[in-house]
């Protein structure tokens, strides 16, 4: 039997979070004596799809239909459901994401499969199927038992690690039947920041808050981010003031992130901001107020003026590379 993995792709490559989902599925498959088959929808090169093999898939099913390029949720759910039945899978794994969540919810009803999201570890299968997931925006974990035969696991980014020691996978075309009603919700335009590192996918993030005093000083954040190969983020007051676009707002009601390193500059650390970053592996806080609550959540901290520290830090990082 196979475990099916729904993989997302962007700009000609499989998303890292989806490769993590494949890696996770491979470990799960090894426990259950199964193999891993991935399914990809829309236009992407075969060679790029083969990359799923390095993370552990033996085969990739490809529905090469440009109508599936944009995230048409109902069509994606229908196509994945057909792949699931074709493979004879009992388990579907995918990465937690905007699209992944929406597709997984519909699939859960379609396939009559118990769904657990924000999964952070392999399931315990001794007398049940118990899955550890992150809850209360990272402030706690729950162990949830899936009681249906079919199961869907949506894996949280950076929670399970990525291993890419396999070989390229074979790619097989898959035909699916999609009714017109799947395309009732139409995407009319996309407004995507190109060339930037996507915030939810980033491994390092440099974020600025009101301590930067105005949008004209954002070059200090951007310079450090560039030196570190990082994405840039901001606090809620910054995006509310229009200094930065909304999609850079990190926090409970903005983007929740889980990078290896989160650098917070001039952000005091309101609880809503912390809720969006507490899954980061390491947190660095730079703030001139030694009482800023963010220092309590930080691994490393510098008390001082961002305008003095940022240029020096950028130079020090550049010197390293």
């Amino acid at each position: 039997m196979s475990i099916l993995v729904y993989i997302e792709h962007a700009e000609g490559a499989i998303k890292k979070t989806s490769l993590e989902a494949v890696s996770y599925a491979k470990e799960l498959a090894a426990l259950e004596g199964q193999d891993v088959v991935a399914v990809a929808l829309g236009t992407i090169e075969e060679s790029a799809l083969g990359q799923a093999g390095t993370a552990g898939a033996s085969k990739v099913l490809h529905v090469n239909d440009e109508k599936l390029n944009a995230g048409v949720i109902q069509a994606h759910a229908d196509a994945v459901a057909q792949a699931f039945e074709k493979v004879g899978a009992q388990t579907l794994v995918l990465a937690k994401s905007s699209l992944g969540d929406a597709v997984a919810a519909r699939l859960s009803v379609k396939l009559d499969a118990g769904l657990v999201s924000n999964v952070v570890a392999l399931p315990e299968t001794n007398g049940g199927y118990k899955v550890k997931r992150s809850i209360y925006t990272g402030k706690a974990f729950a162990f949830s038992e899936i009681t249906t035969d079919r199961k869907i696991l949506a894996v949280k980014k950076n929670a399970v690690g990525l291993k890419t020691d396999g070989d390229a996978a074979s790619v097989e075309a898959l035909e699916v039947n999609l009714p017109e009603s799947d395309f009732v919700a139409k995407i009319t335009a996309t407004d995507k920041a190109t060339g930037e590192i996507s915030l939810p996918e980033a491994d390092i993030i440099v974020s600025g808050g009101r301590g930067l005093k105005g949008p004209e000083n954002w070059n200090l954040i951007e310079d450090l981010a560039k030196a570190m190969g990082a994405a840039t983020g901001c606090s809620k007051p910054v995006s509310d003031s229009g200094w930065r676009p909304h999609h850079e707002h990190v926090g409970q009601t903005g983007v929740k992130v889980a990078p290896s390193l989160y650098v917070a500059v001039g952000i005091s650390g309101a609880i809503q901001h912390l809720a969006g970053v507490n899954a980061s592996k390491y947190i660095v806080v730079i703030n001139k107020d030694p009482e800023a609550p963010f220092f309590k959540a930080a691994d490393y901290g510098i008390v001082g003026d961002a305008f003095e520290i940022l240029p020096k830090l950028t130079e020090a990082v550049k010197a390293l590379k």
Partner: protein, 245 residues
Amino acid sequence: MKILVCITHVPDTTSKIQFTENNTQFDKTGVQFIIGPYDDYALARAVELRDQTGGSLTVLNVGEAETEPTLRKALAIGADEAVRINAFPSDSLFVANQIAHYAKEGNYDLILMGRESIDFNGGMVHGMVAEMLGVPSVSPVMKLEIEGETVKMAREIEGGKEYLEAKLPLVAGCQEPIAEWKIPNMRGIMSARTKPLNVVEAVNDKTATKTVSYELPPTKGAVKLIDKDNVEELVKLLQNEAKVL
């Protein structure tokens, strides 16, 4: 237009999360419960749409009697009537089944809710409800306008926005900046007392998951402070100790 807004009853964002009974129950001691913050955005937008287009706005929660103050607050914000489906919301599928059943009977044009609850963060209920009703679902929606039968939306995607159009009926999971949160005023609070709050019984008890226990993350060690005149030290620590550079 008939609008249904589904809200969650969740601990305030600033609540300290603790568990009792050998980590099997959430500890409600000293915890204040609120309308889920994302649901608050959905409700605020629904009030605006109802005011623009006319029709009715019903707010719904799947919960036990303790959630009624949360529903009353939603009435004070501007919903016309409230419904409590009298059951413990045991998992997403159970909640979605209740909402879908109620919505089918009521023939709603637009069903709004938050993109996710802030307790279990699953973000699944809107998609499940839409699938059960056989209508489109879009999430996370940050802009929603109605023009006749057409719904025009902007949805957040990784690193940007997607603009979409769909026909009613539709289910949307909402987030900011779809509308500004509304704070109940005295008139709203007074009128909420006389608006109907109907209690209906749950329709079936189908679940797919069961939460058996909880765990808190390990406590964080103290921050390592570095002198502001020695930023090279920070870079060394990030490279050699944390191994993230």
